[in-house]
């Protein structure tokens, strides 16, 4: 679920308010969006992909993380390189090569069935 809007990074462009498919954000009084309906978040990462300022973080869990979780701690997330990491991987943002250009996965063979005894 969406866990963080970084006040220091946000450029108050309202893109996240527009693009969130489940209308999770409201525009705050100072222009910085607020997470108004976290329970409606479907953990789709789309707001993060579209945020031009790498100001959002979506924790990968479908329920809220605890108050003291590192996944809500801006300094930790920035240091771990997680802020804006999805946008970077899909190659969005100035000067980046679109990830779509590189998106060739491995050949998928017939799926394996787990055998009884594995060494």
């Amino acid at each position: 679920m969406i866990e963080l809007v970084s006040e220091s990074r946000c450029v108050t462009c309202d893109v996240c308010v527009a693009v969130c498919p489940t209308n999770v954000f409201d525009r705050g009084p100072d222009g910085i969006p607020v997470i108004a309906r976290q329970g409606d978040c479907q953990t789709c990462f789309m707001c993060e992909a579209h945020c031009p300022a790498d100001a959002l973080f979506v924790a990968p869990l479908t329920h809220p993380v605890p108050e003291d979780s590192p996944l809500r701690d801006e300094a930790h997330l920035a240091e771990a390189g997680l802020l804006g990491s999805y946008r970077r991987e899909i190659g969005w943002g100035r000067g980046r090569k679109p990830g779509a250009r590189l998106a060739v996965g491995p050949e998928l063979g017939r799926a394996r069935i787990t055998p009884a005894a594995l060494s």
């Binding site: 498919p21 991987e89 250009r101 060739v104 069935i113 005894a117």
Partner: protein, 529 residues
Amino acid sequence: MITLDLTADVVVVGGGPAGTWAALTAAEAGADVILLDKGYCGTSGPTASGGTGVWYVQPDPAQREKAMASREALGGFLQDRRWMSRVLDQTYENMNRLEAEARYPFPVIDGVPHKRGVQGPEYMRRMRSWIKRAGVTVLDHSPVNELLVDGTGTVAGVRGHRRQHNSDYRVRAGAVVLATGGCAFLSKALGCDVATGDGALFAAEAGAEMSGMEFSTAYAIAPAFTSVTKTAYYGFATFFRGDGTPLEGAGSQGGRSVIAKELLRAGTVLCQIDQATAAQQQQMRLGQPNFFLPFDRLGIDPFAEKFPITLLLEGTVRGTGGIRIVADDCATTVPGLYAAGDAATRELVCGGFTGGGSHNSAWAMSSGTFAGRGAAAFAAGLGAAATRRKLTGVGATGIRPASSATGVGRAEAIDVIRREVHPYDKNYLRNGSRLRPALAELDAIWESLRGGAVADGGNLAGLRQAAAMVAHARWMYTSALARTESRGMARREEFPELDPNQYHRLAVGGLDSLWTRAEPVTGRELAIA
């Protein structure tokens, strides 16, 4: 509350791949088009957040034959060969247009663009700007709540609500395309919470029928407590019990029921993606970066560590059921109403098996194209008379109650959905002895909703979604009970065999009382033995 009054030749409901291709095609045919999305056209729906492999096959007879034959047995031979080849042709054309006209950056391998898949965010962002360039008006955050019909029952518009403007709207239109996606029952599967089956409810209220609803048992693998339901890469995985011993017979394909049984029994199944070489691991990252979001953010190395998994319901998003299509232009049984993508039945190209991994996306873009063209032609055929029709709303549950009783609403309905539709032992590992009581619960909640629940303004969409999910579940289980055999994804524990006497499609319909009808399989005359 103010009501915005709009007019269009064609209204497209839903802005995923099916809706955007429908809007583009209708606009190119000269129609004035309004596209309405519950969320945001460009990010809403499973394609935008997930990305899709695409059934893109060169127009070479041998390759086409192989592509058509590949899943026929899995689908119980319910596919229509003529539709399969039209969809292959249309998909080929659309993917080439996506590259040439929308400048989609396909990967280039040995100088050749590789068009067997699209990255979701990039694809849908480009579709949005493409339809806007083509003159389509897009209204986001504007859920449609009901269809409007004229005096003859012909669909003539829609009514809905703009949630970020707190205003209602009405669009008078020559024809309507429903491209609202399938129904994943708010399971939190990736991008699927907007897919609550709304279009099927609207269509049924106008008199349309469903088909293939028994093939809606799609559950996808995700790391436990996450949303990323991407099953393909689990083909490289090994599965284990909670104590770390191998879970015999488990697999991402053909072994998912073993996983479901173990989850029911013990609550835990572990997994490790331990069969991928270093090179394959790297390719996986490039191929589907979002597959790794849960792992990277939780600090799990999926190649080296065991992690718990779950199965999330994807219902008719990856199952095949939906609104019954009765003509080549994706017309429904109701004049003026067209259906495309997951909202429409996909039996014509998938039979009774999921089209996941390629066919679904091909169906979305090609059925969208057919429907957009059909709707534009229908609207043009109405001429000036289109704007003089008197409009009546046909939305019943949540809008026009059957009685003055009150009591239940959205929350109660969603609770019943969680109890009677999500569980593996009801919807996935199906047995009449469990389906019948589940259906009885669903019938009861339907009756309560139908009786007195009402909402307006911003609250109406949520109530209508709940009604749509209950309607979907009732069509699913009614069809599942009618098919007393195991064919395609519709499996019944007590009828494990395929019954040659049930070689038919099943139409299903009704709102308060439901019916099913066997329909002959079409399009087999083209089958090459």
